[in-house]
Symmetry: C2
């Protein structure tokens, strides 16, 4: 570890270049490490976290004291705080990842050619992944473990607020790597907090960084998406829509609307806009809005909705473009599924949209014509989550169309190559 | 079409922005167009090409006259030249693409969750693809047709040498789009030849370009890879290796070596370096090199090889890094498959490598430890081709690890989304 105080910008540039080279060097032995060895490393990491509880809590106490002194908000302090229960959850998370199927070497597809060649498409690691995150120290463990499972080296750059906590967790990860005989540079934590380190990562560390995953608030993701010269797996925001079709079962619509908005309002899969088919405005709108209001949700409605449900504030154009991440929903009447699609294709961030309907044709139209990462029928938008998809764990959700889209789990952290088996074939 | 003569740089910037907006607008109707409609458009394009032979030949005659006047090399003039046979081949190529399975809507994976949700991963178009190519006018048709089949809008930027030929071919493609009722902006050809147009594409046309595919020589690909702010599917070079293991069948090794190097020396899948296991230097080296020499291949050998086969020039370090694209091969002895892997991981461009061996353990080691897009066992490197892989057609071969790797066919020009079917599930 360098002394944080005497880091000039130039030192950081040199340090980051060195971190990149070490990651690339570690990536090759890691890519060919056996599933058993990676599993052993992950189990050893979880054990080291449990054993290291006292050191992790001490390090976290320093971060918390610094954070209080620096005037961090209660919400930020809560994200930063670790206790024995949270530390056990971190260890359990690593164990869950350890038990996932190893994706490397998986045969994704295989076929024979008329000339007798047998072609297979096989999963391989991506290489070196950079993860840039903010104050949650648990991301250190989650991201490190997921990248390792997929055979990738990872460079972790946590927020300065959690530098000590992340450092203590990272030491446990390295213990696990060593115990399993894997290169300890497979998981590196950037040991300095100056922003130049992030800048170097966004430039790609001289070709030694293959993809960047930002984990944090909008301003972090926006900076990464704008400046990165390497691919980014991320979503900027989740402006998720719930559409209630004329064919919807009313009870189901009420139940899904309340869950999609109110179960947890701060997650990216929370619904932000409710679209109701004008054909059932008279029957469905008021019961759904009443249930939302009774659950504590504020309503921003267009004029037509206001005329039917007075307990709401008027919506402006901005509301259709806003991710509230709060107990607020914007509401609008639309002309059937075609109207819903038009609104969604105009305003959505292409993260997740749901339709409540019994009419199969309306569902198919919604599924075919909306180009968002996740579309749901008769289910809450809050299922937009790698765990709920059965991926075991996720590092985030991507709304880009390149490589990874939707929940990013171990499979999405891999690439592939072709293996062709012949018996002496030459090309005519 | 703008008049080429009064295009200031600013006009080009505005023109390219407009082309980008039109492509994005065309992408949505195209993404939801039925397979039948896309098929009909492609068939109509092929018919228009056949019908338009005279116009295409006239346009090509102008390009050829300009090219001769400008002093283009015979090789470049040959690439530029069209004749009735080549025009029929262009039409047949479009018909082949028309008959490929439509990838959009394909269910790639599907699974059930314990809560009853059924999750499907379904192919979708990528969006807007930019293709930047040089003098071959047939790329206009190949790239336009492949992108359309995958439901993508495409912006084609051909070389200035072939502007008239490409324009005549493009007019036929637009005829096909119109005949099938698809937006004619689905396939646009940049109508100006100044380099600022390429620069605008590399910047991504204000978010209206999702991926760029360069088709051409090293300097074009290098510029695109260095400057592009959007993802690129490409390979810079194909430094492909053939390794002959101690367990290789000698006759097979000779046959594959001659084919891998000499069948066509100018393609990216041609072998450039031959690695021979030191354990069979006495038996295998001379017969293989003799066959290569007799086939007209020049040999660049390290000292050890020179001592066994005198009819060769000495290789320098540069030879291991050189894509000859010519009847030249570099040759080296290595210590078994481990030595071959070490050399390949150091010098390869990670395009295609082949092993000739009867020992299954050597093959598995070669397949597992080399991270190139295509690995072959007992088959020629010249099979590195989308057509040979059964993809029907390819737009190129990619060596990056993001999204597309190896031959880029219609499937690789798609993304995916998730469709989740429920029966009222809410998240606990």
């Amino acid at each position: 570890m360098l002394n944080m105080n005497d880091n000039s910008r130039q030192d950081t540039v040199a340090l980051m270049a060195e971190i990149g080279r070490k990651a690339r060097a570690a990536a090759r032995p890691l890519a060919i490490a056996s599933p058993e060895r990676k599993h052993a490393a992950l189990v050893a990491m979880a054990e080291a976290i449990v054993r290291g509880e006292a050191e992790i809590l001490n390090a976290n106490a320093i971060d918390m004291a610094n954070g209080e002194e620096a005037g961090l908000s209660p919400a930020m302090l809560d994200r930063l705080k670790l206790d024995p229960q949270r530390i056990r959850a971190i260890a359990d998370g690593i164990r869950t990842i350890a038990e996932l199927p190893d994706p490397v070497g998986d045969v994704i597809a295989g076929w024979d050619r008329p000339n007798g060649l047998h072609i297979e498409r096989v999963r391989t690691p991506l290489g070196v992944i950079g993860v840039i995150y903010e104050s949650r120290p648990n991301v250190t463990a989650d991201a490190g473990a997921l990248c390792l499972k997929a055979g990738n080296a990872v460079i972790l750059r946590g927020g300065s607020d959690s530098l000590n906590s992340s450092g203590a967790i990272h030491a446990c990860l390295v213990e696990g790597l060593k115990a399993a005989g894997l290169p300890q540079d497979a998981i590196q934590l950037v040991p300095v907090s100056d922003r130049a380190a992030v800048g170097e990562m966004l430039k790609g560390l001289g070709g030694n960084l293959d993809v960047i995953i930002p984990r944090g608030g909008r301003s972090l993701v926006e900076r990464v998406q704008t400046e990165a010269r390497v691919p980014v797996f991320a979503h900027l925001e989740g402006i998720c829509h719930l559409y209630i079709d004329r064919s919807a079962d009313l009870d189901m619509a009420v139940k899904i609307a309340v869950n999609a908005k109110m179960r947890r309002t701060g997650i990216c899969g929370a619904a932000e806009t409710l679209l109701v088919d004008r054909a059932v405005a008279a029957t469905h709108l008021v019961p759904v809005l009443t249930a939302l209001r009774d659950a504590g949700c504020a309503i921003r409605a267009d004029e037509e909705v206001l005329s039917l449900f007075a307990d709401a504030a008027p919506a402006t154009e901005d509301d259709w473009r806003t991710e509230y991440l709060d107990a607020i929903i914007s509401v609008k009447l639309v002309d059937g599924v075609a109207g819903a699609i038009e609104h969604i294709e105009t305003f959505s961030s292409h993260h997740t949209e749901a339709i409540v309907a019994e009419d199969a044709a309306a569902v198919e139209k919604f599924f075919n014509e909306i180009d968002s990462a996740i579309l749901l029928h008769n289910a809450s938008t809050q299922f937009a989550d790698g765990g709920e998809f059965g991926m075991g764990a996720e590092i985030g959700i991507a709304t880009g169309k390149m490589h990874a889209r939707g929940p990013v789990g171990v499979e999405q952290l891999t690439s592939f190559k072709y293996r062709v088996r012949g018996s002496g074939q030459v090309r005519p």
